[in-house]
């Protein structure tokens, strides 16, 4: 099942400059692992050393934050859009 993964600007150089890539997978975790296999290093930008979603990274499956679904175990289907959305912050 092919999912569209949309990447934020800083990660695009790791995917050959593309803003979106097509990845097969059955769950969100599966897609991220295959994304890393296709574009080495991208997985580590999204998941921590324990294989969990990094605190400052959000994943939206279509319009839903996967943290509000089944997290990384959320099932995906062909045509779904998985967006990597960093949670930026700052302060003086």
């Amino acid at each position: 099942m092919s999912v569209i993964v949309r990447l934020p600007t800083p990660l695009r150089p790791m995917a050959g400059g593309k803003d979106e890539v097509f990845i097969d997978g059955a769950t969100v975790r599966d897609v991220i692992e295959k994304l890393d296999a296709a574009h080495a290093g991208l997985g580590a930008r999204i998941l921590d050393d324990g294989g969990e979603l990094r605190r400052f990274v959000n994943l939206y499956l279509n319009e839903e934050d996967v943290r509000g679904l089944d997290g990384l175990e959320t099932a995906v289907k062909t045509g779904d859009v998985l967006s990597v959305i960093p949670a930026i912050a700052g302060g003086r």
């Binding site: 949309r6 959305i85 960093p86 949670a87 700052g90 302060g91 003086r92």
Partner: protein
């Protein structure tokens, strides 16, 4: 260089005034032209930091997602972010740097991905502004050019 219309800069300044004494935040949608960040829309976002915190912003992830989709629909991309500094000068703080998207994603060493526009708001009134990039792991100020169609020319600062 950051290129922004007087109207869009005015919208950012107004957002800073409305949210004073808290920090406001939002996104800059547009396109890249060489090294320049050309802003064609500004997109106000919600600040998710606690309401009693006036010196921090956490840009709402849902708003960020929606802005990305809006940019895509317009044939644009997210070229940067903005936030305000209530009763403080325009600068890019260490907190701003460490929480920039480039740092959060572990890629502060790549070519600058975004421009960060900062507006100062003094006693509720918008004051100065400046823009910054994350370059080779450090922040650097860039010029801001304000396009004012009514004057038929641009002014830099």
């Amino acid at each position: 260089m950051l290129i922004i219309s007087k109207t869009d800069l005015g919208a950012v300044r107004d957002h800073g005034r409305r949210d004073y004494p808290r920090e406001c935040c939002g996104l800059l949608l547009g396109r890249r032209s060489g090294d320049a960040f050309v802003v064609e829309r500004v997109y106000p976002a919600r600040n998710r930091s606690p309401v009693d915190v006036v010196d921090r912003y956490e840009l709402d992830a849902g708003d960020r997602h929606y802005a990305e989709e809006a940019a895509r629909a317009l044939g644009l991309s997210v070229v940067g972010f903005y936030h305000s500094h209530p009763d403080h000068d325009v600068y890019f703080s260490e907190t701003d740097l460490r929480n920039s998207e480039e740092y959060l994603l572990g890629e502060p060493w790549l070519p600058p991905a975004y421009a960060y526009l900062v507006v100062s708001v003094r006693e509720g009134k918008p004051d100065g502004h400046g823009a910054f990039i994350v370059n080779e792991g450090r922040s650097a100020a860039i010029d801001v050019k304000v396009d004012d169609p009514s004057e038929g020319s641009s002014s830099g600062d």
